[in-house]
Symmetry: C2
Subunit: 427 residues, 2 copies
């Protein structure tokens, strides 16, 4: 008997959970991702602000799944899916046939039709973006010290963060702390009071997905840390040297984008209608509506809870769906009793504001301040992929907390990277 061929697109929280659930099952599983690693995105802002190293929060997918002999990992970018022939094609021209396809390719930042802004305002979805932000931030401080006039210096010492969701709040808080600590400690000619962070949010409050009292608390906490929070104001243009906010041009040394995401282009690959944010509608068994043998989950899938609200684009949703789908597919193969439809269990939504301060929303009750921050730290260390990373990150956090030193403030020289462009690129 030939084994069922299950192809999983995407090695993030959702895709890996499905794969792990199918480990050593009677099926040939192929995981296709354009990156060789899975990334613990909730801590990516710490890479961008020089607190952690890329390897602390990323692990090769091959390593995560290496113990399962039935799982194959393929480093490739998806070009399309032929749902009639049941074949995935990759940009390098490989054709991968499937019996069951699982789409878990997540989301990308949404520049709302201004994709050229991305060069000047990278988001926080990949290690290389985090490194670009870190380099610009650290270089801006170096350049500010050498700047000849006060106006140029003021621009270089300003960071603009676009979007008041959890990513924007975390970046703004962390940049403010980094700027203040580093300027006070390491720069002879610049004072910490010269450093500015502007957080721009088009809506009327930050953390709009959280209860209003946590938004108010976060606004006050950010302001106390020296972040200028501008709500109800819109970004009109992003330029190499700053951001046009409504009518006002704000010169900036570094700009970070965190103003919303949209689903990866999986609806196009599959030829199904894209819903709000480019998402694909799925039913309670995570089947893509209108297709046979195709499932979708995580940020790319649109599913509503019992109250009719769409599930949020959170790691915990993707992970719970991946766990459910892995178990469901295994039951199908072994002929066990059918699982009830997927339901989401909210484990709490959180955003960290900075040292000693975070907010937690558990639905019926909330937490904020130091206890929330400690809980945040414990949860995030625990969610790291393995024991070694837990130890390494814990040590670095404790060290930073005790010494108030920031971590990996390394500016890599870039010349050889560029020379490298002459090499043959990705397969």
């Amino acid at each position: 008997m030939t084994q069922k061929r299950i192809v999983i697109l995407g090695g993030g929280f959702g895709g890996l959970a499905v794969a792990a659930g199918l480990g050593d099952a009677e099926a040939q599983v192929t995981v296709i991702d354009q990156r060789n690693h899975n990334l613990f995105q909730p801590l990516l802002y710490q890479v961008a602000t020089a607190a952690l190293s890329p390897a602390d929060i990323a692990e090769p997918i091959r390593k995560t799944l290496g113990r399962f002999r039935n799982i194959r990992v393929m480093l490739a970018a998806v070009a399309g899916v032929d749902t009639a022939a049941q074949v995935v094609t990759t940009e390098s021209g490989d054709a991968v046939p499937y019996d069951t396809l699982i789409v878990a390719t997540g989301s990308v930042y949404n520049y709302f039709g201004n994709d050229h802004w991305r060069t000047h305002a990278p988001g926080l979805k990949s290690l290389s973006e985090a490194r670009v932000i870190r380099q610009r931030l650290l270089l801006a401080l170096e350049r500010a010290e050498l700047a000849k006039d006060a106006e140029a210096r003021r621009g270089l010492l300003t960071a603009v963060v676009i979007g008041g969701g959890p990513t924007g709040v975390e970046m703004a808080g962390a940049i403010a702390e980094l700027g203040r600590d580093v300027l006070a400690r390491d720069f002879r000619d610049l004072g910490p009071e010269g450093f500015h962070v502007v957080l721009v949010e088009a809506g009327d409050r930050v953390l709009s997905a959280f209860p209003e009292r946590l938004s108010d608390y976060t606004l006050k906490a950010l302001t106390a840390r020296g972040v200028h929070v501008w709500t109800g104001r819109s970004v009109k243009d992003v330029r190499p040297d700053g951001v046009l906010i409504d009518e006002e041009f704000v010169p900036a040394g570094v700009v970070v984008w965190g103003a919303g995401v949209r689903a990866s282009p999986a609806a196009d690959w599959l030829g199904v209608p894209a819903g709000k944010g480019g998402k694909i509608a799925v039913d309670g068994r995570l089947r893509v509506i209108g297709l046979e043998n195709v499932h979708a989950l995580g940020d790319v899938a649109h599913l509503e809870d019992a109250s009719g609200a769409p599930l949020p684009a959170l790691a915990q949703v993707a992970k719970q769906q991946g766990d459910w789908l892995g178990k469901h597919l295994r039951r199908e193969m072994t002929g066990g009793p059918a699982l009830p439809d997927f339901t989401f269990h909210n484990r709490g939504n959180t955003a960290v504001i900075g040292r000693n301060d975070a907010v937690f929303d558990f639905g019926r009750w909330q937490m904020r301040g130091w206890f929330a921050w400690v809980l945040w730290a414990l949860v995030h260390v625990w969610l790291l992929v393995n024991f070694e990373k837990r130890i390494l990150v814990s040590i670095q956090w404790v060290w930073r907390y005790l010494t108030r030193q920031s971590g990996a403030r390394i500016i890599d020289e870039r010349a050889p990277e560029r020379a490298d462009a002459s090499r043959p690129d990705m397969p």
Copy 2:
């Protein structure tokens, strides 16, 4: 009374030792470097072979020297020195006057007139080069698994290391181990026996600066690890897809250059004759011969020991010279008794071959094998810049040793890096 202005070019082992020796002295010290960090180069090969992260072996110069209020750090590339006017000019157009100049800019890889080889065969002098090597190595394995024909696969599974000095030996040994471990563990369709490392050395033995019996030992140890050591053979060309060695073209997925260094172009800046390897002649007080108020040390300086042999280009030479010069300059300022001329104390020369194996040469006696490897590890952890890095590196090494897992095998996507080229570059 105006304070003496001391300018140090280069924040490596030598420059930092001088600066630390002048910490809180009655002098204005400026350290100019084109990187913001000092790099522990002896462990750079571990970054290139995915055992450690860049931040484990690099520290911002500002952080290292941050506790001294009289030391200023400047991120800039030197354009030239006006020795008559006593001014250093930078590429960003700044002019930095000095009363005493210290040149400690180290060395660069020597491609013997073939600088275009560098793109295809990076050396191991910077974090970005180490990262390029790591990415090529890991990508070559990914591509090999997807390769359609056996010949292309064989090329991708071959690594060529050029130069049989310590760097070449360490890289060859580490790549062989990485390839074998990763292929055996993480790649379903490739066997470890398909992976090849070729170490090319133009001379008649590897580690030519070491006693012959250690060279013989190293040759055997490398061969046992599956490294093909080709001595007495010359590289005629380096191409995107391999290396021409004498008349034979060896296709390769990754090529590493470790075939000798030359001094940074300080002789040109100073307008003094460049000796062998571009070095600047100094006297026993590390003064550049023919100039007033200019010292040079480390890889950029030519000084002979009592027997007339030039001091080797080793970190320990630079460090000892920097310590001596810092103390000497401080004595000059405070009017203490003059120091005797600098003399080098050999602390032992070492090269690591791989897991459980290294060689040590202490002049009168030698060590090799497991004890040398443990000593190598202890010494190198001890030499790391601070307690935090010692802990972090120790944990990772112990973890790797116990689990036989390699570490930071992360391929960063590169697209955003390239987009970044449109940003204004270094100041």
